[in-house]
Symmetry: C2
Subunit: 445 residues, 2 copies
């Protein structure tokens, strides 16, 4: 037997070890990335600077409803004279707090007393029977007592798991602490406290020149999964110091729901808890908006709604691409909506986008299944400016390499011109990735 050269052997083994460790490192990094909760690659660079809204103050604390080591309840106090408008999910199994908000908004309570909003994350208080109604009453009455308001002016939302009893005593226990902490600049903490599977806190604002001073708008939102159209989706709270009455406020809100929050979809699933409240404190020095100022105010409000709606899509569970679907020249508005949503909700279209595959055949499939009137030989499809298909087939100018390069972007525009009528519809969605499955196939996420 030859004598083993242990030194050479050790050297060789060391080399093998280093190689294997390198592989191990990559595997470990991949695993860590998978289990972490990374911020969406589509998130804005930073939380925006928001203007203070006179008459609105905010607080957020840790109540331990479900999550540990984070703030999970937020309170907003709104000054006397505040007008409130709302939009809510149309789900037939909507949560107790949603029904309570709807009931209260329909009541003619004098605005003189002001208003409040209390929101918890971690539990949606949906499908919790009579106990759910009791929980809402306990929470809103506790806030009413603490702030000296009628309970009919205290609105509440809950977001999180469905069907679990809401431990309302954990929330009522922190109401004094919340009241104590109320501050005009606390809106960011409020935006953070309402997050569930969100990877970033969402906010948007606008400031316009009114007659006699500035008018300010600031809004916050949460939403990431269970986002579907034709409902008031997710939780959204928008505040303004404009002097405006509830009726025109509600009219403006309703007018712009269709092209903002009702034009987005993450997964075609509609939440039981979604609510939007728009509150005008009336504390701006500017006169009530009229004429050009009213128009500017409405445009600014729409801009804030639009921005927040898009941020929800940008934080869609697992999203890596922000996708705009534009349908034009449909025979009817309903047809345009059907085609746009068939594309935006198609798992095959969404997985192709995740794979950066310009698989336009799946767009054809989605148009075909939508139920809308379509003529194969009249419709055309574009990815960005690239004409992909027309006259019943792939366009002559189609260049697969150019289309594949386009798909590598993270803001994609898919346009379908049906060539039949005058109706159009644009909706926004995101791609369907492994991360969506990771987030939602975990036991009771």
């Amino acid at each position: 037997m030859a004598k083993t050269d242990w030194k050479a052997e050790a050297k060789e083994l060391k080399k093998q070890l280093q190689r294997l460790r390198g592989v191990g490192k990559v595997a470990k990094a991949a695993k860590a990335e998978k289990s972490a909760k990374p911020i969406s690659p589509l998130a804005p660079a930073r939380f925006p600077k928001l203007p203070v809204i006179a008459g609105a103050s905010f607080a957020a604390v840790e109540a331990g409803v479900r999550y540990k080591n984070r703030r999970d309840v937020m309170l907003v106090r709104l000054a006397p004279g505040t007008a409130v408008a709302g939009a809510f999910t149309r789900s037939t199994t909507r949560a107790a707090c949603v029904r309570d908000c709807q009931r209260k908004l329909a009541m003619a309570v004098p605005r003189g007393s002001g208003a409040a909003i209390i929101v918890n994350s971690g539990n949606s208080n949906a499908f919790t029977g009579k106990a759910g109604d009791v929980a809402v009453a306990k929470i809103t009455e506790s806030v009413a007592r603490s702030l000296g308001l009628p309970a009919a002016r205290v609105f509440s939302s809950s977001t999180g798991v469905i069907g679990e009893p809401l431990p309302y005593d954990k929330i009522t226990a922190v109401v004094p602490q919340l009241t104590e902490a109320l501050a005009e600049d606390g809106i960011r903490m409020a935006a953070e406290a309402i997050m569930t599977t969100d990877t970033f806190a969402k906010a948007a604002s606008a400031v316009i020149d009114g007659d006699g001073g500035q008018i300010r708008i600031a809004g916050i939102a949460k939403g990431s999964g269970m986002i579907a159209p034709d409902m008031a989706t997710m939780l959204v709270y928008i505040f303004t110091d404009a002097r405006i009455a509830p009726a025109p406020l509600q009219r403006m809100l309703s007018a712009h729901m269709g092209d903002t929050f009702n034009a987005i979809t993450v997964d075609s699933d509609t939440s039981t808890s979604d609510a939007l409240l728009l509150c005008a404190t009336g504390q701006s020095p500017a006169k009530p908006p009229k004429g050009a100022v009213a128009k500017a105010f409405e445009a600014a409000l729409r801009g804030v709604m639009f921005d927040l709606a898009h941020q929800v899509v940008r934080d869609g569970e697992g999203a890596t691409k922000f996708v705009e679907v534009r349908v034009t020249r449909a025979q009817s508005r309903d047809d345009a909506q059907r085609v746009a949503m068939a594309i935006a909700n198609s798992p095959l279209v969404k997985t192709a986008i995740a794979g950066e595959d310009p698989n336009w055949g799946r767009i054809v499939m989605a148009i075909g299944k939508s139920g809308a009137v379509a003529d194969r030989d009249r419709l055309s499809i574009r990815f960005g400016d690239l004409l992909v298909a027309e006259k019943g087939w792939r366009a002559k100018s189609y260049d697969e390499a150019a289309a594949a390069a386009y798909m590598k972007g993270d803001h994609l525009v898919i346009s379908v011109d049906l060539g039949l009528g005058r109706s159009a519809r644009t909706v926004w969605t995101c791609d369907l990735t492994h991360r969506y499955i990771d987030i939602n196939a975990d036991y009771r996420s």
Copy 2:
């Protein structure tokens, strides 16, 4: 510097290496598993033994349309006197071959000449403009010449990628070879030739006693993704030797589509190519089915359709669970359908099932978003026999551990009783797993 004990060092390094290699092996195995095309865990144990259908012969060869090293075109020859019935996708962007089948079935061509079916996988010939129509004509005319049939009695299907020109010359080139190879026992090869993302070949059969002899039924199907309801989904070919005219054959087929192929969904996406052809050669020694025999024949036919439809779900892309969704006591049939499909198509319900999470809150969500009339306090939800929710909340008897154990099974029944009316609907689906993303986020799968 102390002298290094290279032997000890080498030993230690060897140990570390072995440990790391163990980890590496696991990682490698996981990777191999991911890239392989595993057979669905829900697949039947084996391909069934099928009865020979007198008057029907089959062949399959390799034409190289898209796939390499496998048979990808199949031909069926049907004896003179064969009656043909069909059901097709309602997509407005359906393929040229689908339109051609529909046109030919509507023509009153004498049956005396027999018929034929030619099918290729790898390319769907959908959204291929006028060139698509030319391809269908070239292929069916080639078969007509080779078999001595009128082209109006040659039906064709294509399945695979959408929007690519079909290289029909590759198919016409193998028609003589196909004709040569026709054999009564070739049905299994035919079932294999039409597979795309399928992980197993699908077949089902029945034999009943007719008046004067046996009547036999044998069917094959393909389908795995782009499977959605309310259309004639996927490719299905059913053959029988029964002596039956086209009109009653079509009536029987149409009568059972609703509760078989139109009651399944994999991903809510509807193919542009789907077709079902039911062919009766009339070569059974038994008299034309009447009375009790006709009833038995219809039941057997329904059984074959049901079996094939379920096999498509069992081979749903990435499926690990076979899920039956039963909705009862809805106010209308339309409401029952809406609730059943809202549950069966919900990404959140399907990912929860993949994660074996009895997340019944997501069932509540899906009921709520369906648009059907529902009353929170009247509906009840069951997983198998386990009562989960009733009277607007989690059932008193609900046991999370028992529900979690139930979810570990691979055949799950989710029942929703709406407690409002008399309409019911049952549909079948599968779960949504990482493998669905793997399959569909690959570049042009």
